[in-house]
Amino acid sequence: MTALLTLHAVTGAIAILFGRRLGRRAVYVAGLGPLVTFAWLIAEFGTILDREPITESVRWVPRLGLDFDLRADGFGALMLLLVAGIGVLVFVYSNAYFPPNKEGLGRLIGLVGLFAGSMVGLVLADNLLILYGFWELTTITSFLLIGNDHTDARARAAALQALLVTGAGGLAMLAGLLIVGHEAETFSLSGLIADPPAPSTALTVGLALVLVGAFSKSAQWPFHGWLPGAMVAPTPVSAYLHSATMVKAGVYLIARLAPAFAGPVGWWRPAVVTIGLTTMVVGGLRALRQTDLKLLLAFGTVSQLGMMVAVFGLGTADAVAAGSVLLLGHAAFKAAAFMVVGALDHAHGTRDLRRLPRPERGQRPVALIGAIAAASMAGVPFALGFVAKEYDLEALQHSPWAPGLVTAAAVVGSALTAAYSLRFFWGSIGRMATESPDPAVAARRSPPGLVVPGLVLTAATFVAGVVPDVLDRLVSASAASLRPTVGSVHLDVFHGFNLTLVLSLVALGGGALIFALRRPLEPVLALGGELPVTAATGYAAALRALNRTADRVTGVVQNGSLPIYLGVIVLTAAIVPGTLLLSGAWNDGDGAIVDSWSQAAIAALILGAAAAATALHRRFTAALFLGVVGYAMAGLFVVRGAPDLAVTQVGIETLTTVLFVLVLRRLPDRFEQRTAAPMRVLRIGVAVVVGLTVFGLALATGAEDPATTVSDTFIERAYPDGHGRNVVNVILVDFRGFDTLGEITVLAAAAIGAVALARAGRRPGGVRDSAAPPPVPLDRITVLEVSTKVVFIALSTAAIYLLLAGHNQPGGGFAGGIVAGAAVALRYISGGIESVRRLSRSKPWTPLGVGLITAAGAAIVPLLFGGSVLESGVHTLDVPVLGEVKLTSALAFDTGVFLVVIGLAMMVFESFGDDPPARSRDTAGGTR
């Protein structure tokens, strides 16, 4: 069964990809899926009909209980027969229907093939989540097929409507399936049915959501508006998706669930049956007013789907059998009817029943198909539709809920069905009055490809209508798979003169009467379109309201002020965990006032400098005080036993301060603007809330003291597994190496972004404007230059030492890179940007790139030797002078980190380091 799904996917994809070259031959490629499925089904038919479901399971995500379970039982086989059988016929039909050179034919046909595959998956899926996946695949393929003619605004609108309605329903269904699956403690469909969960509020909500999804998919009132719109799709698509198969997905799900839930869940029958019968009547009324034959059939489909929902919704033993017959009967006559409309449209270029001429000789076979399809639709004896209607009325009479009302509504609906069937017959082929205007048109024959598929369906309708016994085994197996207590079912045409027969005849007679009296009855028929919420206006109003709400919300939330955006974010981040904190025991009160007095001194320094950085209104001074905070932080790290952090922090702080100086020298000295007092109060308020939350959070986390942490494991394994003594460094380059790789990628991206922002609009090489005066050479101070060189060499050596030693002693790639960056900063201070550029002929982004590639390479190389990503290896070299030198693969990774950090530092100077361009509008890069 998995192979069948794969076949559909592959052939569909081929037809789409090579559509242009294949032309109409795409039909043979994509048609292979349904054909093979059909053959498989015939081969396995015996097994399935003997009530032995065929199952298949592929383990997928075992931890989520998500297995790719497929199961073909009786009901599944019946649906599969429709999907594959009608699928084959539709492909044959398409081959004749579409002109060979039609634009985008391959895509269209390929999508139909993909749809067929999704539908096969849907009816075979035995896992609720897998079922949902295929469900949405049919929604998407349907959307693409309705909008096939994307140049037509109507097609786009209809496709969007179908997608939004069925997609929203699908989402509701997903939520519902999750709730139901949670209640049932299984996501297996067969398991759920076999052992349904006890009724509860959660189950009610879950089932209601699932039903919303099923109703929207099967075009039940009030969600039915999308189905008539979908008729803009090409006729073969309408015949296949929008009458025979896809729209039955909702019915399928209801049929599966009803036997398990209709009894125990009290509201199920009233709700489902009422919606179904309302849909049946509304659809019937509206079908009677259509002039476009396809729309007439579409509303007819809506109506019939309503009947199926009502019948299957009962969930009784009669109902599951009757519903199965109705499914078969409807698919056969409705697909045939669509094929007739397609053939007429093909011959006459219209499907408006006021303009279609009387069929002449050449159209006789088409007329015959149409006549039998209409008869079956109306429920005339000796057509399968009659048998189906008999059993349906029978089942409804035995409804455990309001049998009288339900039966009466179904009879009214059936009368309307008979009336619109008559209208279809009269409109398409039966009208004797209109003479064909053009003999050439009248003589036109429909090609066999348009006739044969319809003939096959019609023959089936007729044979099964006369000797329904041929369906006994299929219907029995289908009913038994839905409701295991059902024995074997025997279908008969004639059950004696009973109430059901009378009702059938009443429906037929009533239909004829309604059709004959359609003009006087016009006001009554118009009711169908005038229910308080008609689908079309409801949909438009809902979309408009959604749009307006979105607009209002955007207006309020996106008011354009950065402080307000940030304030909202910060406040949310503080308040949400803050309230949680308040509700729990966040502080047991045994925290020490202070760990050590050295820490208290450092804390005082940090806070004093931070307060100064906040309060002062000169940019430079504020930045310098920020630097003081940073250095004090390094002190704190030393006290806390984190030498690596201290080294890195000092290096970073130096670079940051230089960076601030480089940028702030351009900006005005003071922050001039003073804001109004209310804003200040608001800011202080938010700041206090954030501070208090953090205070509470800090004490709360401090109160947690897990006995063993993963840290102990890391300390234990650092040397044996990571070949390093510096645990922090081993974590960075080995245990959590992937994180580090991601992080240096962020560094590289930020560096590139900074250069791009700072240098945008300037010419490469730092030459801004030939007219600008050449840079003024700095006064050279020999002492400074010489001492700079000495210190530079010392710092560089220290950087390399930190890199090499970092695995076992304080240091590592980050620390080493930062120290090297500080060395570069020193060069810059003494000699300006030219001095930095003289360091190396390569551009600053070269170390950045080389570093990234080195680190990524070091991560991947172990894969080549059959290891896992970032697995570390160790190699011991015997160097004559130094003795034994251990080389670990982590060193290569760390070297990458080192290079990226150096590149970042060099990029900083490249961005901001050259002489300030003369501030004028002309040299501002022309961006104004």
Binding site: G225, T291, I593, L626, R640, L667, V728, I731, A758, F912
Partner: protein, 149 residues
């Protein structure tokens, strides 16, 4: 965590937030730096304190927790990269406007004041409604409908 350290982190967060809510980009950057310092204080104080975590330098139980240290190390470097990028923004802002003030977004203001309906979706909805209503309006049987080109 000791009250002093918790208070230090909280104050750094408070001051950082106050600066973050300003309009001058350079103050926002300083505020962000203070925030990240505050976060680092929280982190290094979250694990147990002790001697530097080097294998062989003592008993594992006496060592400072290495994981927060590794986290803080990357946080330090990342916040440097963020600062660089934001300073580049401030620099760019200065190039274009002589200042590093972040003004309100004019487009957003317009939407906030008047509403700015995106009509495309509603139009499509109206069209879908129109298509399905038009189908209802039946002409008398004998009447030839106008041919829509």
């Amino acid at each position: 965590m000791s009250y002093v350290m918790a208070g230090t982190a909280a104050t750094l967060f408070g001051l950082g937030t106050y600066l973050l809510l300003q309009r001058k980009l350079s103050r926002i950057i300083i505020g962000l730096s203070l925030l990240s310092h505050g976060a680092n204080v929280l982190f290094v104080n979250s694990g147990r304190s002790g001697v530097a975590p080097f294998v062989g330098k003592g008993d594992a139980a006496d060592m400072a927790d290495p994981i927060p240290q590794a986290l803080v190390l990357t946080a330090i470097v990342i916040s440097f990269a963020t600062t660089t990028l934001l300073l580049a923004l401030a620099y760019r802002s200065w190039l274009l406007t002589d200042d590093d003030e972040v003004d309100d977004d004019v487009e957003d203001r317009v939407i906030g004041r008047h509403g700015h309906l995106d009509t495309e979706v509603s139009d499509e909805a109206a069209l879908a409604a129109a298509v399905s209503v038009a189908a209802e309006e039946e002409l008398p049987d004998g009447h030839e409908p106008e041919v829509v080109p």
